[in-house]
Amino acid sequence: MRLRAAIAAGLALIALASASTFAGPPRGATPARASSLSALQLADQALSSIVGPDDEGSYRLIDPIGPGGVNTLAAANEVYASHMLGGQYSMWGVEDPFAQPNGPPAQQQVPPLPYGLPRNRLR
């Protein structure tokens, strides 16, 4: 995930801020010492790292503008839209962010299906 560095820094702050609510992992706790932590401490530690917040994945930026991309107006509409819009260039054969993944749920990858189908594909 491209935001890992930012997420790690932010979550360190959250861990400090929420220390009064939740007893966080002991200072300096490392995976090697994980077995000495309680289940809840392990879970909280994970929620501050690899199970942290998700973003829009590959579609976190607005699409490229120009030939083979979108036009300026469509790009602005991606920003303003009340529904997730992205990957407008899928007609060029690029991965469709809204396509259903193949296989049963157990086979699905993390991160999950991004945003659901955009309105124009629900028709």
Binding site: L3, A5, A6, I7, A9, G10, L13, I14, L16, S18, F22, A34, S35, L37, S38, A39, L40, L42, A43, A46, L47, I50, V51, G52, P53, D54, E56, R60, L61, I62, P64, I65, G66, P67, G68, G69, T72, A75, A76, E78, V79, Y80, A81, S82, H83, M84, Y89, W92, V94, P105, A106, Q107, V110, P111, P112, L113, P114, Y115, G116, L117
Partner: protein, 250 residues
């Protein structure tokens, strides 16, 4: 008469030069547009280094082409060169202050750089003008969450999820933010909403397990962590689930 002829000749020469210059500029722009098209294609195919070279060429031909600069910013972001990407998006805004896609992408890049105050300012500005922008509300939530303000983040994610109820990440991130504020009921509800949209969302099961642990429901917690373990594709997450299940069982 002589003066007239001279003046006419000078005028014709000047017009010729201007026409030649504008023809040059026209063909350079045409060439730059072709390069931008190639660069975008390379970007779509994730050939980011090649794309960067192509956009560099385009910008040598058309240094003030704001779209080429914007696309170059996208490529730099994809390469993890966030400072340079931010600088390109900022330059786009200097050239064209109402270039909203560049403003939005600058906010996303600021998050990657850890400049959460700047990111928040950008997304708040977009939300102020366009309150129903699902992306701006979502990224405002991320900025708040990463800046240690889960209560505010929960509100932002709630708006994003309300605007686009199928937006799985908005539900999950709201659940996480609610968990951080101690609102376990809301966290539980949102994690379940995320699972309704994607039954294979391992992280949502993991969060439900943590909520159960906090509520003292170790049996249910165990089952949630087992689900997360089964669904997780990340070996680190799988291993963590195994450790937690062992701890619960002990």
């Amino acid at each position: 008469m002589k003066n007239w002829t001279r003046a006419l000749l000078v005028a014709v020469l000047l017009m010729g030069c201007t026409a030649a210059a504008s023809a040059d500029s026209f063909f350079e722009q045409l060439q730059a547009d072709a390069l931008i098209g190639t660069g975008i294609d390379q970007y779509h195919r994730a050939n980011y280094r090649e794309a960067l070279g192509t956009f560099d060429q385009a910008m040598r031909l058309a240094p003030f082409d704001v779209e080429a600069r914007y696309d170059r910013g996208l490529v730099l972001y994809a390469l993890g060169e966030y400072k340079d990407a931010a600088s390109e998006f900022a330059q786009c805004l200097k050239q064209q202050s109402d270039f909203v896609p560049a403003l939005f992408n600058l906010g996303v890049t600021d998050i990657a750089l850890g400049d959460l105050v700047s990111a928040r300012t950008i997304f708040m500005r977009i939300v102020a003008d366009h309150p129903s922008s699902v992306r701006a509300n979502f990224d405002l939530g991320l900025s708040h969450y990463l800046d240690g303000q889960p209560d505010q983040a929960a509100k932002d994610f709630a708006v994003a999820a309300l605007l686009h109820p199928q937006y799985v990440q908005a539900h999950y991130d709201r659940a996480l933010a609610e968990y951080r504020t101690g609102n376990l009921v809301a966290a539980n509800m949102e994690a379940n909403a995320a699972l309704k949209l994607n039954a294979g969302y391992a992280k949502a099961y993991f969060l439900l397990g943590a909520i159960d642990l906090r509520q003292g429901n170790s049996g249910s917690a165990r089952s949630m962590f087992q689900q997360a373990q089964r669904l997780a594709s990340d070996p680190v997450l799988k291993s963590l689930c195994t450790q937690i299940i062992q701890q619960i069982g002990a």
